[in-house]
Symmetry: C2
Subunit: 209 residues, 2 copies
Amino acid sequence: MNKVISNAVIRRMPRYYRYLGDLLDRGIERISSNELSHIMNVTASQIRQDLNNFGGFGQQGYGYNVKKLYEEIGKILGLDVTHNLIIIGAGNLGQALAGYVQFEKRGFKIISLFDTNEDVINKTVRGVKIRPIEELDDYVKSNKVDIAAFTMPREKAPAMAKKIISLGIKAIWNFANMELSVPDDVVIENVHLSDSLMQLSYNIVKDKN
Amino acid sequence: MNKVISNAVIRRMPRYYRYLGDLLDRGIERISSNELSHIMNVTASQIRQDLNNFGGFGQQGYGYNVKKLYEEIGKILGLDVTHNLIIIGAGNLGQALAGYVQFEKRGFKIISLFDTNEDVINKTVRGVKIRPIEELDDYVKSNKVDIAAFTMPREKAPAMAKKIISLGIKAIWNFANMELSVPDDVVIENVHLSDSLMQLSYNIVKDKN
DNA sequence: TAGATTGTTAATCGATTAACAATC
DNA sequence: TAGATTGTTAATCGATTAACAATC
């Protein structure tokens, strides 16, 4: 039985990963929790606690080796394995996601897009083909698909969730601004852009008082 | 001096707003914290505590009036005033944001996009013009701009932040996957899509153990 | 009035920070 | 070895949940 790691910790891991990646690019070899805490604006204690949920990656009297820690966090986040990803909905947002070079670097390989719109079908985005939605079943049966990104219109999301789950896909990256209910063995990550904008708005009006 | 509301609470407000909007659409007039807690999968206690940070919106023995509560939360989030928004970077992501009908309904009015790419300049997205970035200064000086959305390439973000702050814009909605440092009177909301994808990845590989 | 449900205080739980012994 | 810094335990702080008096 694995120890359950709190969500607060998980949410911070990608941020550590980003900062360590920057340090690595700048050629920095080692860093102490104290130095990192200043750069990232968190406490050194929190950094050490967070990391020790997963193992002792540092060394007393030395600190952390940047490259090693970067790789370890990558492994924790599952970035050392390739995730094949399909995008359902090849509108602007779907195409924007397909265009992110970064994702591929981190092991997320976009292998196909799907849409209903004749105008985009058979076009390619960065070499990846947009297929008609009718081909989804066959495609998923003959290709390993790890993640389905939902960038289609909101109202189509629930039915599509059912479909891709029935096809055996176990992960949904959901932009459809609707909370989908899924079985326990399916993982879902919701991106609520309008929630984010509302939070910004709150902070704008709050400051005016 | 306003009471400071914890971030945990703020993050939940847009979610309440969404669910209440759904209830409203379904014609439901009143709801108790207990009923809502079942729908939203949180505790009734948390709902009452959250709301009472802002005021007593309910009535003993009755519960909450859906329409009233929806409107009150809208006010808290600043959705009752219009925010003029410009989008800097009219690539797929910028155009996707410009295409969201929902934003306008919530008081976010996209008034212009800006780009450096000749191919898109002077095109329109849902009736909104894409202007050359050279016109930014003049545009901001002669129009009220409340929010700048950053959808340009990552490396251009820091310089652009400086520029729009010097022009007097006080809010940034940042998609540039880079943390920008801004003065205290500027509010910023970061959307880290790759962090979100990494969290999904973590949950995928975790379940495999 | 009796029943229902809020608003709010008190109790609990979990997350963050501080402190320090272990150790490189 | 002495100095530095981790890993980890203990203390504190804040957020969540429970309980209940107030009141519609």
